[in-house]
Symmetry: C2
Subunit: 234 residues, 2 copies
């Protein structure tokens, strides 16, 4: 699988999968983190041809296929904090969600196998390489996954703009799965019904939605902030 863009290639080199050839322009090849890496110097047109995109920032690499994890592995971790996505199809949104989840220290990300963006080169790029370090699982059916998560002791929270409950009101100790829908459409009714509760990140201004990658970060950091406060003041 091709990986392009500075951060995407850098994190692939630091990450779990094997990286083969790297092609870069003279300018991009000067990056300090490429020290010790064998780089083929080529023109920008050759990088673009190999990347299949003009968002390559002068560098492209040939890496092993992206390695997904098993959803059961995520559920087996201690007090997992899992982000699950319901039909998020936009690669930019999936990338920014992955970046937010990785930075916040989420246990992992769960994507449905169908009608959802997968980890493509565009997603690697949009995530700034976060997908290389984040555990990502694909599941056949999101509703079944939520049932499995609940059997494993997790609470499932769906995020919905119209939910009455503020994201700060639940007690997030223990295992947690937070489900986000696509921008615009939100959660499908069957998915919302499979959650233990619906929560929202309150909008205190006049526009109607946060970017979904931003909403993921606010919720993840908010949960961790609350867990820390509860641990500190039992």
């Amino acid at each position: 699988m091709i990986v392009y863009g500075r951060n995407a290639v850098r994190e692939a080199l630091r990450g779990r999968r094997e990286v083969g050839a790297v092609w870069a322009t003279d300018h991009a090849a000067r990056e300090r983190w490429l020290t010790g890496v064998e780089v083929m110097r080529v023109g920008a047109d050759e990088v673009e041809r190999r990347a299949g995109s003009d968002a390559h920032q002068g560098i492209v690499a040939d890496a092993a296929d992206y390695a997904y994890v098993e959803a059961a592995e995520l559920l087996g971790r201690s007090e997992p904090l899992i982000v699950a996505l319901d039909e998020v199809q936009d690669p930019q949104n999936l990338g920014s969600i992955a970046r937010s989840a990785e930075c916040a220290g989420a246990t992992g990300l769960v994507l449905p196998r169908h009608r959802s963006a997968a980890v493509t080169p565009a997603v690697c790029r949009a995530s700034s390489g976060a997908v290389e370090h984040l555990a990502i699982a694909r599941v056949r059916n999101l509703v079944d996954f939520l049932a499995e998560a609940k059997r494993a002791g997790c609470w499932a929270y769906g995020t919905a703009a119209e939910a009455d409950a503020d994201y700060r009101s639940p007690d997030y100790r223990g295992g947690v799965v937070c489900v986000f829908g696509s921008e615009g459409r939100g959660l499908r009714p069957r998915v919302a019904a499979a959650c233990d509760a619906l929560i929202s990140v309150p909008l205190r201004g006049r526009i109607e939605s946060l970017n979904v990658g931003v909403a993921v970060a606010v919720l993840m950091y908010g949960i961790l902030q609350q867990r820390d406060a509860l641990d500190g003041n039992p």
Copy 2:
């Protein structure tokens, strides 16, 4: 000033400035929020020519110049929560910061007059129209503004990846100014020195930075979460 893109035009129509002519393709003109608005039906090429960008989503409007507010007005509000930017030059980043700040309910945004992105059509688009509702001030000199804010009773917090203090440790009651630098370069030393304290949003994964719009949202919501908790448990 030209405004293009669905959310940008919608919020301009709902916002403070006067909107003159609106041009839209047949498809874009069907939006429900355009009911009652006089729209000139034109082809996509005409919309693109007027927008000067291909990110127009089929709609462009002619609006009055963007109306900035005075920084002193922001400082005069009760317990203001102000975001100040140090040389953030990327319109996408400024747009996403404005969107995050507006959604979180920040009092306003302060931009230096020089070496900083201003509110351009690209910023209106990238902010999803949030700039129409957010109070934005331009200042001659950011260090002078921080001194003025401190005289007005605010605490100034600079965000820096290398700061030891976690963003959750200060007591944010009272007036607060949070200063963010550009992605990559961070705060200039003179600006960092003008802050009362430096704080960071902890990265719990392996990649090195949150998107700056995401960092703004995490900090704003975190401050409000803490203020609410402190008010609830005095």
